[in-house]
């Protein structure tokens, strides 16, 4: 059984096709990077899988079952720019929101939920910021709050949209430690990633995407110069393939 299976996925904005004929599977307990140039449809893929965008066609199953949000097996970390940071709420409160699916209608968060949220804050080294309004946090701290929130969702499969963008080194390390811990616990993490240099180090599975699947498999097999060239076309000038000297 795979963590994610996508069959015959097509997505179009207005009249323009964004994703065409996406077929792929992502194995359980993997750390998967979705990699591709700008406009390749990486975020679109995640959003279409999770039903936030209309699909022209396609079947999605997660852990062998058609995707249904009510099963609560999916955690999602949006791009940092997608929420209103002026919202009247603090860090702890945002993390608690991850529990809302478990709490259910008409009920308030229990002591246990709050304890879980505090624990997640602590795990990401953020306990002293619990009462901060979220705008008053740095970019990396904001990202860590989002991750802590995904953590308390207690999901099986996590989708993260560019979690490493604009974060400091400390946060980057905290994130990658967390991803590895999740994997160890038997979870699957699927990450839209833009920094090619770190792909082999962080991820064991890679999906190369440019409007359709170019390649999909274990990172060491997929992350080759030829396939990357095929994904990025002529735009790969700044990148040197694994093994070569980093430059520029």
């Amino acid at each position: 059984m795979d963590a994610l299976e996508v069959r015959n996925l097509h997505v179009a904005y207005d009249r323009k096709a964004v994703l065409e004929q996406v077929d792929m599977t992502i194995p359980k307990e993997s750390l998967t990077a979705i990699v591709g140039p700008n406009g390749a449809g990486k975020s679109t893929l995640i959003k279409a899988v999770l039903g936030m965008l209309k699909r022209s066609s396609g079947e999605i199953s997660i852990l062998g079952k058609p995707y249904n949000p009510k099963n609560r097996i999916v955690g999602y970390v949006p791009q940092r720019g997608s929420v209103d940071w002026d919202f009247p709420t603090n860090a702890l409160d945002v993390i608690l929101m991850g529990r809302y699916g478990h709490i259910g209608w008409f009920k308030r968060p229990s002591k246990q939920d709050i304890a879980m949220a505090k624990e997640a804050l602590q795990k990401l080294g953020m306990e002293e910021y619990a009462d901060r309004q979220i705008r008053q946090l740095s970019g990396g701290q904001q990202q860590r709050v989002f991750l802590a929130r995904a953590l308390v969702q207690d999901a099986e499969v996590y989708f993260m949209d560019e979690p490493f963008v604009g974060v400091d080194a400390k946060t980057e390390k905290a994130i990658i430690d967390l991803l590895r811990e999740l994997k160890q616990k038997g979870k699957t993490v699927i990450v839209v990633h833009h920094d090619l240099q770190t792909v082999p180090e962080y991820f064991d599975h890679t999906l190369l995407l440019n409007r359709t699947v170019i390649a999909n498999g274990p990172t060491e097999e997929v992350f080759t110069k030829e396939l990357l060239q095929k994904t990025y076309g002529g735009t790969l000038a700044f990148f040197t393939a694994p093994g070569e000297q980093r430059s520029g």
Partner: protein
């Protein structure tokens, strides 16, 4: 209760119901939609009057709620069809409002409903039109507004968590399996009934200031949504009371004066708020 007492009570209920609902509009950046709905309900009220041939509150409530949903839906459909959002709002509500005004002038001239009423409400007449409820003589409009306020409060208390989450991060709400669209329409329904409840008191346009201004003041004072709701109601009540006495003092429209009072309160908050004020910004840059 005295004549003045009823007016003050009605005005305060407008402040409370609009203040509560308005907070969610502000944090969801949907105040323009509320502006559109409050203009459109004029058409709903006129149509309800023309169909039922009565100005009974229930018909008005139904007409306005229906037109509120139609407005929200029409704006959403135009937006989905590729019209940019501000333009789709601008098209829908001006058209509905225009049709409403034409219908009033053509068919409803000689009744209680007139254009001036739509503009500034007739809060001064509310205490004369009473109804016996449980042995009390209560003005009809006040009774309706009381029910609406309690209803809005209940909805907000019951669905507080869901309203908050869908406002902050609709994407997460979707992955948690919350009915995001349904909650959106629920809120728009609340806006419609609040607007129609306030219609008699402040009219279709000035209700916008009661929806948006108290919430904005509160937004500058606190970082917690629950406190923002509370402050917003307090600002709503203050605007109502100050507005009423201001209107008496200068012999002007009560609704207009309430709106002006809310504006003055905002100006003061804007300058002096301890957290997010002009003064604080100025002091920080100066030091």
């Amino acid at each position: 209760m005295t004549y003045e007492g009823w007016i003050l009570l009605t005005a305060c209920l407008v402040g409370i119901s609009c203040g509560m609902v308005g907070c969610f509009l502000i944090v969801r950046r949907m105040t323009m939609l509320a502006d559109a709905i409050s203009h459109s309900i004029l058409l709903g009220i006129v149509l309800a009057f023309l169909i039922a041939n009565s100005l009974n509150g229930i018909y008005m409530l139904i007409g306005a709620t229906v037109i509120g949903f139609v407005t929200t839906f029409a704006i959403q459909s135009l937006h989905n069809a590729g019209v940019q959002e501000d333009a789709s709002i601008g098209i829908v509500f001006t058209t509905f409002f225009a049709i409403g005004v034409i219908l009033i002038s053509l068919f409803a001239r000689d009744v209680h409903l007139d254009v001036e009423h739509a503009l500034m409400g007739e809060i001064a007449f509310i205490p004369w039109n009473t109804q016996n409820i449980l042995g009390f003589e209560i003005p009809k409009a006040t009774a309706m507004l009381l029910c609406i306020t309690i209803f809005a409060l209940l909805i907000i208390l019951l669905f507080y968590k869901e309203l908050k989450l869908t406002s902050f991060d609709a994407a997460l709400a979707l992955t948690l399996g919350l009915p995001v669209t349904l909650i959106h329409y629920l809120l728009m329904g609340l806006v419609s009934i609040t607007a129609v409840g306030s219609f008699d008191a402040v009219g279709a346009i000035l209700v916008v200031s009661m929806l948006v201004v108290p919430g904005s003041c509160a937004y500058l004072l606190t970082d917690r949504l629950s406190m923002m709701l509370l402050y917003s109601c307090l600002f709503g009540i203050s605007s109502a009371i100050i507005g009423y006495y201001g209107a008496l003092l200068f012999d002007v429209s009560i609704a207009g004066s309430m709106s002006t009072a809310s504006g003055i309160l905002f100006l003061l908050t804007w300058i002096f708020s301890p957290r997010y004020s002009l003064l604080r910004r100025f002091l920080i840059t100066a030091s």
